[in-house]
């Protein structure tokens, strides 16, 4: 099988488990994102792929060849570290040429390759600049150029954008994504920022509680979270407990009932969890209860200019609705309100 395959990969430090039971197939030429909260083991997993950590169990294969025990310097992977780890005692050019020097490439070819890469990252004039004299975004690009200088089989990015400010980070996300597509290089990106994952990834691997929770395209993960963990971690969602009543109906703690998509595997009487995205809720002035329209009271309003978040107490649960200012109906704390929850927007999660 081509691409990178992880089979039953496991890492523990003494009795503490970092990641366990990881089975993944990362196809060639794709950008895969390991997404998860801090401490979920995503960096450990990346470092095992890089060869910077030993495997406690399992196998890592690249294009059918077992590389799980190959030392890091023989794997020919490029990696961009969180701190970037540019060598402060070398110039930009020396940093990029370092992997070529190690491989015994002759001086002329080194120079040609370095200038090719500098052109790619649009820093031609920085060749002899010491690394300390670069701006954050420039360092970022130099780190990427250095990582791909020796034409690695795999590019690993360990939260490389976390040190940048919000605006620069967004533009670098696009830049890296475009570069990756032009070079068609298989890339793994580790991040805890779901927006970054949504922007850049072909495939998102959600990690949590030391294991893989879900693998899918960004939209799949957002629309159809596999479980409560993913639903909670990706996007902001209203997650609340409910009881299955059968025939596609669920009961809320406060007694109201909702119509939801029928889920064959769940029997009536089972406790479940519901997910509704805030942007799917519709608010209106108080109207009679009908279908999926419920009565509630506003408990908090957060108007951030571009969007308005309204929190409503409704049949024993707290729901947050997201609306744009033009949809606003002038609600204040304590106002009675009607909430419509479209049946197709409801996701039933096994508790």
């Amino acid at each position: 099988m081509s691409g990178l395959v992880l089979e039953n990969v496991e890492k523990h430090y003494g009795s503490a488990c970092a990641v366990t039971d990881v089975n993944l197939h990362l196809p060639e030429g794709k950008l895969v994102c390991f997404l998860g909260p801090s401490g979920c083991g995503k960096t450990t997993l990346l470092r095992m792929i890089a060869g910077l950590e030993t495997l406690s169990a399992g196998e890592i294969r690249l294009d059918g060849q077992d590389i799980g025990h190959t030392p890091a310097h023989q794997r020919n992977f490029g990696m961009v570290f969180q701190s970037l780890a540019l060598f402060p005692h070398m110039t930009v050019g020396e940093n990029i040429a370092y992997p070529l020097k190690l491989r015994g490439v002759n001086k002329a070819d080194q120079q040609a390759r370095v200038s090719e890469l500098l052109q790619l990252i649009q820093l031609q004039e920085m060749l002899d600049r010491p690394v300390a004299k670069l701006s954050g975004g420039q360092r970022q690009r130099v780190a990427i150029a250095r990582a791909i200088a020796a034409r690695p089989k795999l590019l690993l990015l360990d939260e490389p954008l976390s040190a940048l400010d919000a605006k620069l980070r967004e533009s670098m996300q696009v830049e890296i994504r475009q570069l990756q597509q032009r070079l068609n290089i298989t890339t793994i990106l580790v991040t805890h920022d779901q927006r970054e994952a949504m922007t850049m990834a072909d495939i998102v691997v959600v990690l949590g509680e030391h294991r893989v929770q879900q693998v899918g395209t960004p939209i799949e993960i957002y629309r159809n979270p596999a479980n409560a963990f993913v639903a909670d971690f990706i996007g902001s969602g209203n997650i609340f407990p409910a009881i299955a009543l059968g025939h596609g109906r669920v009961g809320l703690p406060g007694g109201a009932a909702l119509q939801v998509p029928i889920c064959e595997s769940i029997h009536a009487g089972t406790s479940i969890k519901m997910l509704v995205r805030p942007e799917d809720l519709q608010l209106s002035l108080p109207q009679a209860t009908a279908g999926n329209r419920l009565q509630g009271t506003v408990t908090f309003v957060r108007d951030s200019g571009a969007t308005i978040e309204t929190t409503i107490a409704c049949s024993g649960v707290s729901l947050t609705a997201l609306s744009t200012p033009c949809q606003g109906i002038g609600l204040g704390i304590g106002s009675p309100v009607s909430v419509t929850i479209p049946a197709e927007a409801c996701r039933v999660l096994t508790a």
């Binding site: 190959t70 020919n76 491989r103 490439v105 034409r151 070079l183």
Partner: protein, 302 residues
């Protein structure tokens, strides 16, 4: 430009079977050159231990505890007590003096002042003790600075004897070991963030209270370390005694030397040496125990 060529493989390092080296073996391999030198130190101390139970004339083959028994004689016992007392008193004085200096060093802003302070601390530590003893002769001698000043003030009629007795030795001990107290105290106080002081001040503590109730307790491990270092250093002090004590203040270190140089009594010298080592290690272990516990409490609360 054909960017697709950028991902083509070139010059991949040939795959070699990974050498499996246990991390412990690798670490000790790196440590081995240093351990070679420390090994000499350890071998030497074992040798001293062996010789201390030897007998004079048959240092390598004999076995007797006579040298240790000799140490229990009043003369030697007095010397041991003197050693402990002078080391303890000098450690207390040095720490008392080091606390304000350490505090200032940890809070100085100006780089030049910091350098001057550090130089003034390092000079007594690094400059050859012999040279500093010359200075003490100038200060404490019969016609020296202190006697001239005291006579000038009319406090005394004729020079008092400050050299070649315990007073002079004590001053020398405090001065030469003073930096060993300052450095750990300054570094401990640097670890006490200014925000603690600011917090205490906003709660209504005066400057003196802030210092006594916040800074001092939090830097206690450093203070204990400093005191221990001074004690250990001075318990085996030799040069100061040689030059300021004129051999009239018989601390243990001098006895170790005297047993060899004029007497050639290796077992006796070794036994005195073993007592020195044991004293030093005991006080270090005790301090490690105290500061370790204290540090754990401080860390747990942060």
């Amino acid at each position: 430009m054909a960017l697709s060529t950028l991902t083509r493989q070139v010059g991949v390092a040939p795959l070699r079977p990974a050498k499996t080296f246990s991390p412990t073996a690798r670490a000790w391999l790196f440590l081995s050159p240093a351990m070679l030198f420390l090994g000499v130190l350890i071998a030497a101390s074992l040798l001293v231990l062996r010789m201390s139970v030897g007998t004079k004339g048959a240092e390598w083959s004999g076995f007797s505890l006579a040298s240790y028994a000799q140490l229990l004689e009043p003369y030697y016992l007095k010397s041991l007590l003197l050693t402990l007392r002078l080391a303890l008193v000098s450690a207390l004085i040095a720490v008392l003096l080091a606390i304000p200096v350490g505090y200032c060093m940890s809070r100085l802003q100006s780089p030049l002042l910091r350098r001057v302070f550090l130089a003034a601390v390092l000079l007594p530590l690094l400059v050859n003790l012999l040279l500093q003893s010359y200075g003490w002769l100038v200060i404490l001698g019969p016609g020296g600075m202190v006697n001239q000043a005291l006579m000038g003030l009319g406090l005394i009629d004729r020079p008092v004897m400050l050299l070649y007795n315990q007073t002079g030795v004590l001053m020398g001990l405090v001065q030469t070991a003073f930096p060993l107290a300052v450095l750990p105290i300054a570094s401990a106080m640097r670890g006490v963030s200014r925000s603690y002081e600011e917090a205490a001040a906003t709660l209504g503590a005066s400057r003196a209270q802030v210092f006594r109730q916040v800074v001092l307790p939090m830097s206690l491990p450093g203070i204990i370390t400093g005191a221990t270092l001074v004690f250990a250093y001075n318990a085996s002090s030799f040069v100061v005694l040689l030059l300021l004590g004129g051999r009239r203040v018989p601390m243990l270190a001098v006895m170790v030397h005297d047993q060899i140089a004029p007497l050639m009594n290796w077992p006796a010298a070794s036994a005195a040496g073993v007592v020195l080592i044991v004293t030093t290690l005991a006080i270090m272990t005790f301090s490690e125990f105290v500061t370790g516990r204290r540090r754990r409490i401080l860390e747990a609360s942060q």
